[in-house]
Symmetry: C2
Subunit: 161 residues, 2 copies
Amino acid sequence: MRRDAPQGTQPDAGPPPFEVEVATSISAEQLLRQYGCRATKPRIAVLDALIAHDGPIDAIALTDLAQADEPSIHEATVYRTIGVLSELGIVNHVHAGHGPSLVRLSDNSDLVAVCQDCGAIVDLPGKAIRRLISDMQRATGFILEPGHFALEGVCANCTTS
Amino acid sequence: MRRDAPQGTQPDAGPPPFEVEVATSISAEQLLRQYGCRATKPRIAVLDALIAHDGPIDAIALTDLAQADEPSIHEATVYRTIGVLSELGIVNHVHAGHGPSLVRLSDNSDLVAVCQDCGAIVDLPGKAIRRLISDMQRATGFILEPGHFALEGVCANCTTS
DNA sequence: CGTCTATTGCGAGCTGGTCGCAAGTAGTCT
DNA sequence: AGACTACTTGCGACCAGCTCGCAATAGACG
């Protein structure tokens, strides 16, 4: 559902920025409106927290952050908001190993990797991955969707120690 | 998948083979003993089922299969057995998107990919991945451990349809 | 300002997986 | 073969992460 595109909807005055990556310069509220969905206080709080955090974060931590703004916000609401934002393409969620899945702004197109030793979350540059994707498609027809899964391994710190 | 077994290992007289990849030609029981762990009926049933299945499988389905041999086997036992086999390096488990994690014999070193549309589990050839791993290590110091995570995307079937 | 519907808060519930414990059994020693 | 001991099992309770149903609330729009 909700297939209306962001662009082409001049909300009010806003010379609509072309990308979410300017998110930090646009208010969460404007962003929501721009996507044609209700700008409720809980949603604004969640999106604000997500923008402020800048990086993958799990739903519980995000709830905590959002509660700083909007104390009554419920965990279930955060999950639902993530679902909405995800459908709109504003955020995506990443499955990382055992733990909870992580959420991040979609403009961050790097791949997420989780260190099995220390649990650190590392962003890996997307270049090599793009090559992997095209190789893979050529070889198998399978089109990888990075950004929906996390890689696992051992980070540089833990390797040396 | 299809990492077919090297045939031709004497079943019982067993001069211990060096690798798990001969799994299909050696009994699960022998394999367990070889690794110095107790060959109990539940464990044998689980490992047998895993060998027979040949491919990634989730714990519940594995429990079903194992129960064909050993009806009283409990789900918790299957999880524990997976844990033991995993520590021994006989199997590894793969985290696939939302659903349950999958188990497979370790000799199957290909990467697992899950189709987001149809849920199909596809094995991707390891060649391109090995290149990704070395690229990644050079670039970031992060050593990827494939086989512990699944990639996600859209399979060839769903792309065309 | 009033209406109408999307959204929220809340608690119950579901799934995947783990844990503690008493009973059972594999492996070892005699 | 029989006894012993420690590892395993089955079982149920429990936990985390997440979803759902529903009544109450509150945005958006006229």
